[in-house]
């Protein structure tokens, strides 16, 4: 209302302070709106239906919006004790990732952790555990971690702005399911003035929102205090993490995976000694996530390859959640920290070794001592690339401000101008001695300004630092040996531990053996001595030992478990034939048919015998369904060592053995004809199944009579409120049953029925299909939970596999030795299980789009590195596009801004899985490393991509419309294949292949719609199928030596090869552009006959040109006499003079006239002016007179003056 811009000052609204209006308002405010005074009621017309159509539309819209919010309900499969949440901390180098992790760990566990290498698991709350993983700048690591992350903490250096790594990681996340992403701004203390800080925050926030979603959380870590973030801010961040909810991601939900936090080499040392390059058996440890894992499945380790798991076993949780959930907060003991790769962990013991935890403070002290104090040396330790590599990569600028740009960079910049995305701005950071890939958006000018300012600042500092840095580098080189020493304990943290462990093992050796005794079936066999010994040992052993023994005693080893159990079960059945209740408890239990034993007395014996017989013949179902664990069972093992009688001691008669034939070559028929064991003539048999029909006797709880009675009990009592009469059902008269159990049951039953009735009455009103579906899912989830609640873990694993949240140990044989030798805990080891057919390789059809920030289009048949499913692999894609008739036409290059199809030979992955493509993994050559993204459309065993093929021929004999063409084919047979095909000339004359000619091989006769010229070129357009190259080359980046893991190089592109080898193709001379000689055409000759027939307009005209005048008509030249010439000259002179004079006079006259006109104009103007004035005077006088007259008339003076 009172905007500053509005020029017209408006009056402000003044509230009435008194009067009836104010009174009314006051009353209304006090009472609220009176009950009767509803808007709708007060003004019904305003809310009446104006238009039925409009109403329908609004209703539809409302419903649409409502339906949009629905997700397809899924069965809730989250385990009771979920695995730790994977928190991946990403960001460009030197942005504060390790510091943040360290601070968070300190915040949650009150422990300090020196070096963050490998996953760090902590207990963060009563129900939540966290696993922190640091993600370095390597794109391999970024891809792998994006696939397993639940939460991503994206660190952004606010003083610098966004870097390309951030956007790359966001893109990777988008492709592989979008985990929760939280941004964290660091280096905020570098801003001097508050306004710049605020502006930067806002700018970064909005850019972050466009990338993630509107309103995504962005955290600010304002500054460092003693090289740590402020406690309160870290605490807040921790709170956010610990209450965060996560969305289920499709790939993670459907695949079990383990982020390995511990690796042990199990290979026999002797074998390693003999052949250091032998394949290794490795056990990997970690929490199982995703979904249930079956033993002996196929897994993929990104960066290593596909492997079969030899054995999976679960271990006690090394970082368990607190057991009692009563207290409000965790106590010090429960704040566990587990990071074996960093050298910290709880008590872990397994098949290989026993590890004892040293108190965390102790470890820290050691590590703190080791840590060098100077930041420079520390940063050198932290990096993975060798000093040489860094030296070679770094460029020392000699003059301040002189940025040395290579030719490649110049080219890049030129191209970048075309793309719409952010431009990469390589900024040399003197502190970190690396190039930072700043993401510069063209639209924001502030950024570039500020950065340039910064640069200036930096430049000033640079000169100072220059000398320091070089000195530092030299120092670093000298310290190289020292560094190596320091690094050793880092790369192999558990070494020290192992020693302790071995000692411990030696002590406990006998303890370990104890369970073997316990395991033996008959404990009585044990001699007394042994028992004594055992007891002594048990006393001596600490808690773990006891636990171990108990575990072993209580349960049987998983390997021989099922068989033994089976036999036990059988025994049970035999011994407990009449005991029905016992058997029911078994899952695969043997029920008695209720009527089966209620025959005559004599039959009972027979039936029980039959039952026993059947029991013996029934195979162990559990074994059949869930497997025994060893494959040998179902691969038929028939040995050919049958003893047939020998013929003459030499030959054996080969006869199909009856029994064997039945087994191996039996008839494949599912028809089941029951044996005639039961005689259905007997009345007893009839009786036995009579209750199976609705006409038979029902169960007690379903019988109509009892149900009626129950209803009476339930609803019989009621009090008539009007009369006050109390009606009692029969329930009152029924004798009270003494047993509490039955009473309780009844009460529960009553409650249930009441609830059911209530639900029926009230829930059904607005129950939709969606609600029903949800309810079904809920029920299934409850069933899933309830089924195995009280089954012990060993048994449960047999049924459902290892459930997520368990700490498992995967034993993987035949891993390449480089995995162990070049193991670097900074690189994550992920074990992702594969689905049923995901181990196969086949053709994949995908939809692909070149990333709009990637600055060059992709070429068909150039190898590309894809990240699809768990895998990263190099393959050769063929790009294609679908024509209007469904033909897949090969493209040479991907379109600029359009989707296209891509076919590859690669691992079969479910349809709808996203993928991303990178051109090379080594280094950061391109500005934006992600080349393309897309989705798997189709898996097919055959592909039909075609490319256009034009066959060219030349006419060598031309008749009227028929021509003989040569040079298109080479044999008669080829022509025969193309008979009837349509052909065309360049000028557009269409034709058809007729028949092959005999003499020049491959020539043929063809007819055209017009006569050809000898200079015409004839071509045949055809489509040639292209086969997809079979290249599937898994990226084995984890096998690279330490420090070079980000430099994996696969197959090179042709262009790269040519560049590297310096090869240049010689172009085809015909394809080069050149100036064409102008063509001359002969004159058009029209036959005389035709000329005659033409109308006059089109007739060639006969008129002659001017040069053709005949001699007689040509006039002769006049030659003058000298006198005549003189006269003529004089005349010319006179006329010239006259002309000049007259011209002069003319101009003079014209000027004069002009002046005259001007004067006239002026006079006219003056005249007008005068007249105007005179008129004015006159009118004024007239006006005054009039006025006077009026005045006088008003005064009532004399009428006429």
């Amino acid at each position: 209302m009172e905007g500053k811009d509005s020029k017209v000052e408006q009056k402000r609204h003044l509230k009435k302070q008194s009067g009836p209006k104010a009174e009314r308002k006051k009353v209304r405010k006090q009472l609220g709106t009176p009950a009767g005074d509803d808007e709708r009621k007060r003004n019904p017309k305003a809310f009446a239906v104006q238009s039925a159509v409009r109403m329908a539309k609004t209703f539809h819209r409302a419903q649409d919006l409502k339906a949009k919010k629905h997700h397809i309900p899924l069965v809730d499969r989250t385990p009771q004790e979920p695995p730790p949440i994977v928190v991946v901390v990403v960001g460009p180098p030197k942005v504060g990732k390790s510091t943040l992790i360290r601070c968070l760990i300190k915040n949650f566990t009150r422990q300090k952790l020196g070096d963050i290498c490998g996953p760090v698991t902590i207990v963060s709350g009563k129900k939540r555990r966290l696993t922190f993983i640091e993600c370095n700048n390597d794109i391999n690591t970024m891809i792998d971690l994006a696939k397993v992350a639940d939460l991503v903490l994206m660190l952004i250096d606010a003083s610098f702005g966004f870097e390309m790594e951030t956007f790359e990681f966001l893109n990777i996340c988008q492709v592989h399911g979008f985990p929760r992403i939280m941004g964290v701004l660091t280096h905020l203390d570098s801003f001097r003035n508050n306004k710049a800080l605020r502006k930067t925050k806002k700018r970064l926030k909005h850019r972050f929102w466009t990338e993630v979603y509107q309103g995504a959380k962005l955290f600010y870590l304002s500054g460092m205090v003693y090289s740590e973030y402020q406690t309160q801010e870290v605490k807040n961040l921790g709170r956010f993490i610990s209450v965060m909810k996560f969305r289920p991601l499709v790939w993670q939900q459907s695949h079990p995976y383990v982020v390995a936090d511990r690796m042990e080499d199990l290979t026999d040392p002797e074998m390693v000694r003999i052949d250091p390059k032998c394949d290794r058996t490795v056990s990997l440890y970690g929490y199982l996530r995703g979904t249930f894992l079956k033993n002996k499945g196929q897994v993929h380790i990104p960066g290593v390859g596909d492997f079969a798991v030899a054995d999976v076993s679960f271990l006690p949780d090394p970082c368990a959640l607190p057991e009692v959930q009563k207290k409000r907060a965790l106590n010090e003991k429960e704040r566990l920290l587990y990071a074996p790769m960093a050298g910290v962990g709880g008590v872990v013991y397994d098949k290989d070794a026993v590890y004892i935890d040293l108190p965390g403070s102790h470890v820290n002290q050691e590590q703190e001592e080791v840590r060098p104090t100077t930041e420079l040396v520390q940063s050198l330790i932290g990096t993975h690339t060798t000093l040489d590599a860094k030296m070679s990569a770094s460029r020392v600028s000699l003059f301040t401000g002189a940025a040395a740009l290579t030719s490649g960079e110049v080219e890049e910049k030129e191209e970048e101008g075309l793309t719409s995305g952010p431009r990469e701005n390589l900024v040399w950071d003197p502190e970190m001695r690396r190039e930072r890939r700043k993401a510069v958006f063209i639209e924001d000018d502030n950024n570039s300004e500020s950065s340039s300012e910064e640069d200036e600042d930096n430049e000033e500092e640079e000169s100072d630092e220059e000398g320091r840095r070089i000195a530092g580098l030299r120092e670093g080189a000298n310290d190289k040996t020292k560094l190596k020493e320091n690094q050793e304990p880092m790369t192999a943290p558990p070494v020290k531990r192992q020693k302790v462990v071995e000692e411990r093992e030696a002590e406990n050796e006998s303890v370990v053996e104890v369970p073997a005794f316990a395991d033996s079936e008959d404990e009585l066999e044990m001699s007394e001595e042994e028992v004594g010994q055992k007891s002594e040992e048990e006393e001596s052993s600490d808690e773990e030992g006891e636990e171990d023994a108990a575990l072993e005693e209580g349960t049987i080893k998983p390997g021989d478990f099922s068989e033994e159990e089976g036999s036990v079960e059988e025994d049970n059945c035999e011994s407990q034939v009449p005991d029905k209740e016992e058997n029911k408890s078994n899952l695969i239990s043997c029920y008695y048919f209720s009527g089966a034993l209620r025959w005559k007395e004599g039959l009972q014996q027979k039936a029980s015998e039959a039952f026993l017989r059947q029991q013996r013949s029934t195979p162990n179902l559990r074994k059949l369904v869930y497997g025994t664990g060893n494959m040998s069972i179902w691969v038929s093992d028939d040995s050919d060592g049958e003893d047939g009688e020998e013929l003459g001691g030499l030959f054996r008669v080969s006869r199909p053995e009856k029994g064997k034939k039945h087994r191996a070559d039996g008839m494949d028929c599912s028809r089941f004809d029951p044996d005639g064991a039961h005689d259905w003539e007997l009345e007893e048999m009839f009786d036995s199944i009579r209750d199976c029909f609705v006409t038979g006797k029902w169960e007690d709880d379903q019988d109509a009579a009892t149900l009626l009675k129950q209803d009476e009990e339930l609803y019989g009592d009621f009090e008539d409120l009007e009369t006050g009469e109390v009606h009692n059902g029969k329930g009152e008269t029924i004798l009270r049953v003494e047993e509490d159990v039955t009473q309780k049951k009844k009460r529960l039953e009553k409650k249930r029925r009441l609830k059911e009735r209530f639900d029926m009455e009230y829930d059904d009103e607005d129950a939709t299909y969606f609600d029903d579906l949800k309810e079904v899912m809920q029920k299934q989830a409850e069933l899933n939970r309830a089924e195995f609640e009280d089954v012990d873990d060993e048994m449960r694993i047999q049924y459902e596999g290892f459930r997520p949240g368990m700490y498992v140990r995967l034993e993987i044989p035949s891993l390449p030795c480089e995995f162990v030798i070049n193991f670097d805990p900074h690189y994550p080891v992920i074990v992702g299980a594969l689905g049923a057919s995901e181990g196969n390789v086949g053709y994949l059809q995908m939809r692909l789009k070149k990333h709009r920030w990637h600055n060059r289009i992709l070429k068909t048949r150039d190898p590309l590195i894809l990240s699809l499913g768990w895998r990263r692999f190099q393959t050769i894609p063929l790009y294609h596009i679908e024509d209007h008739n469904g033909r897949h036409r090969l493209l040479k290059y991907t379109p600029q801004h359009m989707h296209c199809g891509a076919s590859i030979w690669g691992p079969i992955t479910p349809q709808g899985t996203g993928f991303l493509a990178v051109q090379s993994l080594a280094g950061t050559k391109s500005s934006f490393r992600i080349a393309a993204t897309g989705v798997v459309l189709d898996l097919d065993k055959s592909v039909t991509i075609v490319k256009k093929l034009k066959l060219i021929g030349y006419p060598y004999k031309i008749y009227k419309n028929t021509s003989f063409i040569k040079g298109m084919f080479t044999t008669v047979l080829e022509v025969a294949k193309f008979e009837g095909a349509s052909i065309r000339t360049v000028s557009g004359v269409r034709g058809q292949i007729k028949k092959a000619l005999s003499t020049p091989a491959g020539a043929y006769r063809a007819t055209f719609e017009d006569r050809l010229l000898m200079s015409d070129i004839v071509f045949l357009r055809s489509w040639y199928p292209v086969s997809v190259p079979h290249l599937y080359n898994p990226v084995t980046s984890l096998l690279m030596p330490v420090g070079q893991k980000d430099s994996w190089m696969g197959m090179r592109t042709v262009g790269q090869l040519k560049y590297d080898l310096g090869i240049r193709n010689k172009p085809n001379a015909d394809s080069l552009y050149k100036v064409r000689a102008p063509r001359h055409f002969n004159k058009l000759q029209i036959p005389r006959e035709l000329q005659k027939a033409l109308p006059f307009k089109s007739k060639p005209k006969q008129d002659k040109t001017k040069g053709m005048t005949p001699k007689d008509l040509q006039r002769p030249a006049v030659i003058r006499e000298p006198h005549e010439r003189k006269v003529a000259a004089l005349l010319t002179a006179l006329s010239t003079v006259y002309n000049y004079k007259s011209k002069k006079a003319q101009t003079a006259k014209r000027t004069k006239h002009k002046d005259f006109l001007q004067q006239q104009d002026k006079a006219e103007e003056d005249k007008l002016k005068r007249q105007k004035e005179a008129k004015k005077k006159l009118y004024r006088m007239m006006g005054q007179k009039e006025k006077k007259r009026q005045r006088s008339s008003l005064k009532g003076g004399p009428q006429d003056d």
Partner: protein
Amino acid sequence: MASQGLNYDGCNFFRQRLVLSTLSGKRVKITNIRSKDDNPGLRDFEASFIRLLDKVTNGTRIEINQTGTVLFYQPGLLIGGEVEHDCNTQRSVGFYLEALLMLAPFMKMPLKAVLRGVTNDPTDPSVDQLKYSAVPLMRKFGIDGLELKIVKRGMAPGGGGEVLFTCPVRKTLVSVNLTDPGKIKRIRGIAYSVRVSPQMANRLVDSARGILNKFIPDIYIYTDHMKGDKSGKSPGFGLTLVAETLNGTFLSAEQVSTPQGQGEPVLPEDMGRNCAKHLLEEIYRGGSIDSANQSLALLYMTLRQQDVCKALLGPLSPYTVKSLDMCPPGYTQPGHVILVTLLT
């Protein structure tokens, strides 16, 4: 990279092996197929079966050695679509159809198969039985919109029948909980006769009703007499009975006359009684899934989502036991829980 294949000996459970291989994507090598037999190698009906599999898949690689005793099968992808197949008359259409039932929901395109051959013979479950017992069972797993139609009826040995089978695509099957079969509410059936007197069917119905009427009055047995070109090439008759329970369990039994020129002819009265007794036997054996479809149900249970799935089965038929045995450990997806309870 590629998952390792499986090796088998002998031609037993041929269909199961190939079907499971196709579903799991694992290649299979079967050796010593009737190697000791006088007439070694694959039979015509098995070859026909392989051809059918080839039709419904894409990219299948099949290698058979010269004597036909070794088969290598690398499964392709299940494509589906419209398929026509002339089944070998050595076995009835049921032989082929059973495998198709297992594969059909997992195709890429809805399957529409026209199978020609013998529709009813005494060795295999007939199309009628599958129609009345397997199709309702599949519906329980969420596969609705199935159609199994007998266009022409052809009895063994001549054949000449035609069956139309259409099945929609279901990527995920519903978890079922079939622990309570419920009581039988009605009995239905179909008595068919071709190229014999239509009276045969009536005689079958009468004799079967004679026994079943003692239990339940709600019995209706349709008679189906096909004439002309719909009646196939050989004479014969048969009876299929289905008992339906309150909870939607279908228990079936069937009897088919012996093929012309093989074995001794049977009286329709005897057959009707026998069939009714078989049904009673089936009811006696109990369970929520009748013995002819146990293996089908168990397969679906393994291929469904990872939820608890329960079924109450009667004593397992030998075929089911073997097919369970076939199912390689680790074949089921992780988290699959199948609970089978046995009635004895």
